[in-house]
Amino acid sequence: MDTNDDRTSSAIVVVIDGGPLKITGEIILKDLKKDITDNPAEVLLCRCGRSCNKPYCDGSHKN
């Protein structure tokens, strides 16, 4: 199902099947350790719970 909407947003949140969450565009990321990361160009966040570098993906989902 596609929602047709002309409105564009600068931030895009993509759930990669079998992989991490990819976020691109203008965001304010509130990390666990560092308080705030402003506008990272792209961030990959772990969705499987197995990353050793949480909240970021380290590829562990492939194992």
């Binding site: 596609d2 993509v14 509130k30 499987c48």
Partner: protein, 165 residues
């Protein structure tokens, strides 16, 4: 005490009292002693008359000592010029300034400790072939991998004892 003087509310309006602006013209208590009684504490009793009558008398005040506004902010956008003591004419700083809605809401991505990713604001959200434009939206996405409603969080992280290390 509220910094701009005192304020008194009923369920429809708020009346603001700015004592240092008063020139003692006395319209308020001569017209409506039931509400405005300088000998009583507090001197304003918002239950002493109808809202319409209170507005009428506040509008007689020749200064900004007494002003009023609707509690429903939307109603303050359409005030006629004869409502002379509405705050929009006398003390516009007392109106809540609302950002116009055509601005894009910044996107915040918050990692909850031992919990989900919470994303708020205006963004495009894509999952399993869906593409949604979120406007002032909020989603909570699973980080533990065990949710029964992937990609969304359903609280399972607590049951399995998911921890950030």
């Amino acid at each position: 005490m509220f910094s701009g003087g005192r304020k008194y509310r009923n369920n429809e309006i708020t009346v603001y009292w700015k004592p240092d602006a008063c020139v003692h013209a006395s319209y308020c208590y001569r017209e409506l002693i039931e509400v405005f009684d300088p000998g009583r504490r507090p001197w304003v009793d918002m239950n002493g008359a109808s809202t319409d009558r209170i507005i009428e008398v506040v509008n007689m005040c020749p200064t900004e000592a007494l002003t009023w506004k609707w509690n429903d902010e939307d109603k303050n956008k359409d005030i006629s010029v004869d409502q002379t003591n509405h705050v929009v004419f006398r003390r516009p700083e007392l109106l809540e300034i609302k950002e116009p809605d055509n601005q894009e809401n910044p996107v915040s991505v918050k990692i909850m400790k031992d919990g989900p990713i919470v994303i708020k604001g205006d963004f495009t959200f894509q999952y399993s072939g869906n593409k949604k434009a979120m406007k002032d939206g909020i989603i909570s996405l699973c980080r533990c991998g065990a949710s029964n409603h992937l990609p969304f969080c359903d609280g399972t992280h607590r049951k399995i004892g998911f921890e950030d290390k």
